[in-house]
Each structure stands twice: as structure tokens, then as C-alpha cells.
Subunit: 205 residues, 3 copies
Amino acid sequence: MFRLIPREEKFFDFFKEAAGNILEGAKVLIRMTDEQGGDLQERWKQLEEFEHEGDKITHQIIRKLNRTFITPLDREDIHSLTVALDDVMDLIEAAAARMCLYKIKQSTEEARKLAQLILKSAEEIVKAVSNLERMDDVMEHCIEINRLENMADDVSREAIAGLFDSVHDPIDVIKWKEIYETMETATDRCEDVANIVESVALKNA
Amino acid sequence: MFRLIPREEKFFDFFKEAAGNILEGAKVLIRMTDEQGGDLQERWKQLEEFEHEGDKITHQIIRKLNRTFITPLDREDIHSLTVALDDVMDLIEAAAARMCLYKIKQSTEEARKLAQLILKSAEEIVKAVSNLERMDDVMEHCIEINRLENMADDVSREAIAGLFDSVHDPIDVIKWKEIYETMETATDRCEDVANIVESVALKNA
Amino acid sequence: MFRLIPREEKFFDFFKEAAGNILEGAKVLIRMTDEQGGDLQERWKQLEEFEHEGDKITHQIIRKLNRTFITPLDREDIHSLTVALDDVMDLIEAAAARMCLYKIKQSTEEARKLAQLILKSAEEIVKAVSNLERMDDVMEHCIEINRLENMADDVSREAIAGLFDSVHDPIDVIKWKEIYETMETATDRCEDVANIVESVALKNA
């Protein structure tokens, strides 16, 4: 369709880039919970680079928002989705940071499960954000992200309760409780993305 | 008044339903902090059902939003109020879950006080949400919810400081600190509801 | 410029007042982390007064919003900025409260660093909010607040990891972890303010 003032569609590309970046980050986190210690530090560095990449995308979107006359979505929705995607990447890096800084020697089954739920949420974010431009099949991915967050909440609760039963050093309890909570918070931030996407889809229905 | 395209007013009924559901949940939480152990597991199951009921209401609202042409409030306000009400119910269930999963044998005076503040906040949410349709006397209930959140914050702070003085097993300190914080967070989520209702009332004043 | 219905500009004065109040609070927090115990209780009382002052400003803005016909910014933006500024003051007081309630005898280097980052963020908030009326040079202050939050996140992570290495009593670990997290959360709330200001600036660009 011909438009006198073309609508800037580049925003959707940026969102896809941010989502793809999150997905790559989630894959690194999986590797951190799979392997036996050793390379943790190396993986964390990778995640810090993904986080900086995320920051760069965020700044590009904000700059473009500043210079764009007609946006394809409301300006404040573009802004809040950008911030929410950035937060997901930050939380993935935060979980990795805690594993390193707390000198975790051996990962746990529960950490692996949580990393997998983060990965699945990241995959759904990629799909939801990719469909945003055509406003097509967005809702189902948002519902799935909500379901994954509920599952992560259950896993993290049981994992923390398990620490009280099986771990004897209170310091280790504190460390793992914090790691599980940080991973669970990553899925909360995914849910924030889903809620914003859902709200945008409803508004532009 | 006659309208060519009738405005869908069912949303207000849904909000009242979600608020009523929260109120019932808060009553169960009171019983959990009143009784001596025993039925905790049974009560938690009840709260899980309330939580699922809340999820159902949330999905009904989203579906109706999708199919409604003229909404009585801005679509994004209906959406964010729905999400906020759902969050309150989630947090009440989360507090109960922790009491069960951490195998708490005996409740405390402070847990009872916090449950009572959650109950009072729930009652104010029912009133605020019921008045939303007529935009009448909404503000005073929002102010009261803010006041109750401040009180819950004080109770939870003192309760946690008290743990450090009187509880000797660090594991028990960690457990109760988490339970108090979760209950306090429930009142934070009530405050989120109040802030959204307040904002909606201001916009539609 | 002549306007038939004058726009109420008093909101910007209120924002500046709230920001100035936060800055004064941040200065007291610095003193609490500088000194050796003793006056902590006295400082905390001061911060409670700043918090009440913040509440008063919040209520004045809400009341004025209710009685104002033409607002200089969207009503919901004025509301959410007001709530966000109030949250920053609350968190500064919350950090001070924990230092007192947990009977901290001696501050740490890390607490001092975090208090300094809070102070710098408060200074940037004052500048961002002061420039809001002319929508001038707002962005750079928002970016700086984001940078300071990242720094606070790093300091708090390292500080908590350091506790695990050097503090032997788990109760002391729990206390300081909570204090560092509360101070870090204060900078998160500063970032929320920055995000809202940024969004408002983009919308009114």
C-alpha cells in the first residue's frame, strides 16, 4: 500500500534482533548448568557480551524513536517492550553471574530444569515478537510464556524447599536459593514481555 | 441511555469476580496462620483452586477484550488491571505454598498480623473495584490500600529483625524471612491494583 | 503564548520538590554509611520524615490531577512518575531501616559505595526532572541513571559474593545481603524513574 509518509518498520527488526539475542543467551545458560564447573567463567563472559549487545539494540531503538515521525506502534509501547526485552537478557546474565561469583562447583538438576524453561520462554518470545508485525498468532505464544513461568515458579519453589531438607551448610542454602530465584525472575521478565505484547496486540486488534 | 453500539459493561463484573476471588483466598490464608499446622496442606489446595479460578477469569477478560469493539475503559487499562488482580491471588497462594513446602509446624503472631492486613487490603480492593463502574469513592479505597501496605511493610520489617534476635537456627531464619517477605509482597501487589485503579479514575474523571 | 484555558504547570514544581526530597534523603544515607554506628537511629528518624514529606507531595499531585482540566503531560504519565519518585524515597528509607533494625554496628566499604551511587542517581533525577518542563537534555540524564544502576548492580553482586568468602556467621550474611539488595533496589527504582521520564520525553518530542 502506498503511503505519503512511510511508517518506520525497522522497529520490528530491532525487536527480532533483541529476541534472537535473548535466545542465544539462554543457550549459553543451558550449557552452564549442563557442564561440570570449569568453563563457567568463560560462559559468563559470553553472556556479558550478549548483555552489551542487548544494550546496544536498546539504544538504537530509543534513538530511532526520537527521530521517527510515524511509528508502527504507539511510542510508549515500543519503549516499554524494548525495556522489557532488555530486562530478560539482564536476568539471564545475572543468573550466570551468581553461579560464577558464588563459586558453584557443581550444577543441580533443578538449575538445569530452570535453564530449560528459560530457553523455551526465549523461543516463544522470538515467535511472539516475529509475529507482532502481522499481529498474527501472537496470543498463543503469550499464553505459553505464562504457562512456562508458572512451571518455573513450581520448580524453583520445590528446589528451595529441597535445599532446606538436604543441604546442611546455611551458606550453601543462601547461595542456591538466590540462584534459583534469579532464574525464576528471568521467567518473570519473560512474562512481562508477554504481557506487553498481549496488550499491544489487543490495542491494535 | 440509548447507544447505537452498546458499550460492553461485562468487564466490571469480571473485575468484581476477580476481587471476590482474592477476598476468599485471603480468608483461607487467615485460617492457615490461625490454626496449628495439620490442615495446612488442605488449605493450600483450596488456594490453588482459587488461583486457577483467577486464571480463568483473566483468560475470559482477555478473550472478551479481543472481541469487543467499544470498551468502557481503555483496553490497556483493562488489561493491566486484570494482570494486577491476577498477581494478588498468585502471591496469596505463594505465601501459603511456602508455609507448606517449608514444613512450618507453628504459625507466628507476625504471620497472623500480615494475613490480616492482606485480608483488609482484599476487602478494600473489592470496594474499589465495585465502585469503578460509577467512578465513585474510588480514591479513598486506594489511599487505604496504600496505608495497609505501609503497615504490612512495618510489621514484616520488625518480624524479620525479630528473627535475628530470637531464632537460632539460620535455616529457620531463612524460611520465615521468605514467608514474611512473600506476605508483604502480596500487599505490594494490592498497592499495584490501587495505583492502576487510581490512574484509571483520574483519566476518566 | 496566550492560552484560553491555561495549562496547569505546577506539576513540574511538585516533581522538582519530590526529586529534591530524594536528594536530601540520599545525603542522610551517605552519612549513615560513613559514621560509626551511634547516630543511626537519629538518621533513620530523619529519613522517615523525608518519606512522609514524599507522601505529602504525592497526595498533593494526585489531588491537583483530580482538579485539573488541562495537564501539561498525559495524566497517566504524571501519575506514574509521581508513584515512581515516591518509590525511590521509600527504598532509601528502607535501606536505613534495615541498618537500624538489624543493629548494624559498623558500616562497610561496599555500603558506602552503594550509598554514593544512590546519591549520584538522585542528583541525575533532580536534573532530569528539572529539564522535563523544557524537554531539554532529558535523555542524557536517563542514560546516566541507567549506567549508575549497572554499577550498583556490580557492586552489590561482588559485595554479596564477598560475604560468602569472609563472613562466618550465616545470620550476618543474611543481614548484609538484605541491606545490599535494598540499596541496589533503590537504584532500580531510580531507573524506573528514568524509564518513565525517557518515555514521556519520547512521547512529547
